[in-house]
Symmetry: C2
Subunit: 318 residues, 2 copies
């Protein structure tokens, strides 16, 4: 890595790349310039730290690059926006080879493209551990951002896809059981549906957030922000067959993964009860009266099958 | 730190903060929303790693926060833009106290405000070392971005302020000489003139960049991008009296600091020869024919007092 130098590295990672029309000035200057067509920009940042958010013996550099982009792109989608551009700051340990750095970079670019944007700038520095810090910007295309505080009693609660696959993959890695490649892959790299957020916004979503900490944990954030009770019905939760099989094999409770597992980066949203939900979305519960909007901690809460969820099951599993 | 939790920390660091009108949605949701009044957004990122970019025994947490914002704000200014917002990702070691985290945060907010923006979002994670990764976005207010590749033969070369103070402060720290508090402070926290960039753009700057690596190193980047030779006249370089005094005390060559020292984050720009330079800017040389625009490495070069600068003096001092 060091042998290339910063400018050599920039030349190497950007060689042959093409940019969408939204990129007015790409990498290589002090800053990049990106269109913000409706006069606003949505912005979020997330950092991945080796040993905390990934293990290099479980995840290849390409996976790590994709994951770093995906979790930021999912946050942009959770506002109802589309990602337009990403910047990436890397701290690279001395044992990261040039080939690994190129794989990491390929993962960043691939996922940025999948999210609808491009990598427009970055910073590379030496460090003891691999740290990948990504900032995403996005475009609301004239729509209002979908916040966490808009859920209203009577709304339905819905998810954009199944949760628990990343947690199941983690459990399989820990148990050294490798017969569910899709679940292992789901732990390495989440696969957000980047269209699900803007589609939900168009359908009239009243509140939305990304499921990064776990379905119940993120539902609680939304419940507190909106001052409501979110009533989850466990029978309505989408559970892929592979998840049930893996739970049986490991003697785990599949609901622990579905309700408590984080990092799947599906979206959780509320919609008026009569809404025709966009493709991929599944109703998993409803919104009830309760709590005070943006109230103190404890205001707003989540129930599962009618019982208040008071335990920490799953919340702090990982 | 851990005892607060992420949401407790967000509440704590944002309590009582006010936001400029450009912040449409501040911290607390999946992403923030900021105005981009002219339909474009300028974006840059820079990461500070403990032990590489700062030492916690030399720089307090407030200094580190200010420095992290300042170097990003200077990159925005170097495009001729004004910073509107910053997002911050932090990796915090276990020994960082809550009081230190609050000081760091205060530094981030103070400098963001000085740069004309606000901190609108962030991410906090545990890590073995303190890593501060900042992304800045900015507004060109309808102007064209000032790139590195626009310098033309016949232009003058100018700096927005003196260079070398950070390098002198570093040398004083290493020598454990503490009688130049301003130079020590300059090493801890650069003080960019954020207005200098937009002012240069209005005055007609043809090329501009931030001096982060050192005057000659950054001049070389500009020379290569523009395909020109930049002729620096050492007698015209602004040298504060304290810098000369410190050089004498340490037996150092003041030009090593002025030409080679990085991290002052002043701006370097070229202007048509007949330009009335904005306040604070000083002509330090001129632009000559030479090299190929955006040519291979080696195209474009820098001379000092008529001699080609072939050495690495200063370039890799730090």
């Amino acid at each position: 890595m060091d042998s290339l130098g910063e400018f050599g590295l920039i030349a190497r990672v950007t060689a042959g790349r093409t940019y969408p029309d939204s990129v007015l000035l790409g990498p290589g200057d002090d800053a990049a310039v990106v269109t913000a067509a409706d006069g606003r920009v949505v912005i979020t940042t997330d950092m991945l730290v080796e040993g905390r958010h990934f293990r290099r013996d479980w995840s290849g550099p390409r996976d790590i690059g994709r994951k770093a982009i995906a979790q930021n792109g999912a946050d942009i989608a959770a506002m109802g926006a589309r990602s337009t551009a990403f910047v990436v700051a890397l701290s690279c340990p001395a044992d990261l080879t040039v080939a690994e750095a190129e794989d990491l970079n390929a993962g960043l670019w691939d996922e940025a493209s999948r999210a609808g944007g491009a990598v427009v700038g970055g910073d590379v520095t030496a460090g003891d551990h691999l740290v990948v810090s990504v900032t995403a910007v996005g475009d609301l295309a004239g729509a209002s951002p979908i916040r966490r505080d808009g859920a209203r009693p009577g709304d339905v609660l819905a998810v954009s896809g199944p949760t628990g696959s990343s947690a199941a993959g983690y459990a399989l890695f820990v148990a050294e059981v490798e017969d569910h490649p899709d679940l292992l892959a789901a732990h390495r790299v989440p696969q957000p549906d980047y269209d699900a957020g803007p589609a939900a916004a168009r359908a009239g979503a009243t509140a939305m957030c990304d499921v990064s900490d776990g379905l119940l944990a993120d539902a609680a954030h939304l419940a507190v922000a909106s001052g409501v009770v979110l009533a989850v019905e466990s029978a309505r939760l989408p559970v892929p067959p592979a998840l049930r099989e893996a739970a049986t094999e490991l003697g785990a409770d599949v609901l622990d993964w579905v309700l408590g597992g984080g990092e799947d980066h599906v979206l959780l949203a509320t919609f008026p009860a009569d809404t025709a939900l966009p493709s991929g979305w599944t109703v998993v519960g409803s919104v009830m009266e309760g709590g005070e909007k943006n109230g103190a901690e404890g205001a707003g809460s989540v129930t599962v099958d009618g019982s208040e969820w008071t335990g920490v099951r799953g919340w702090t599993s990982f």
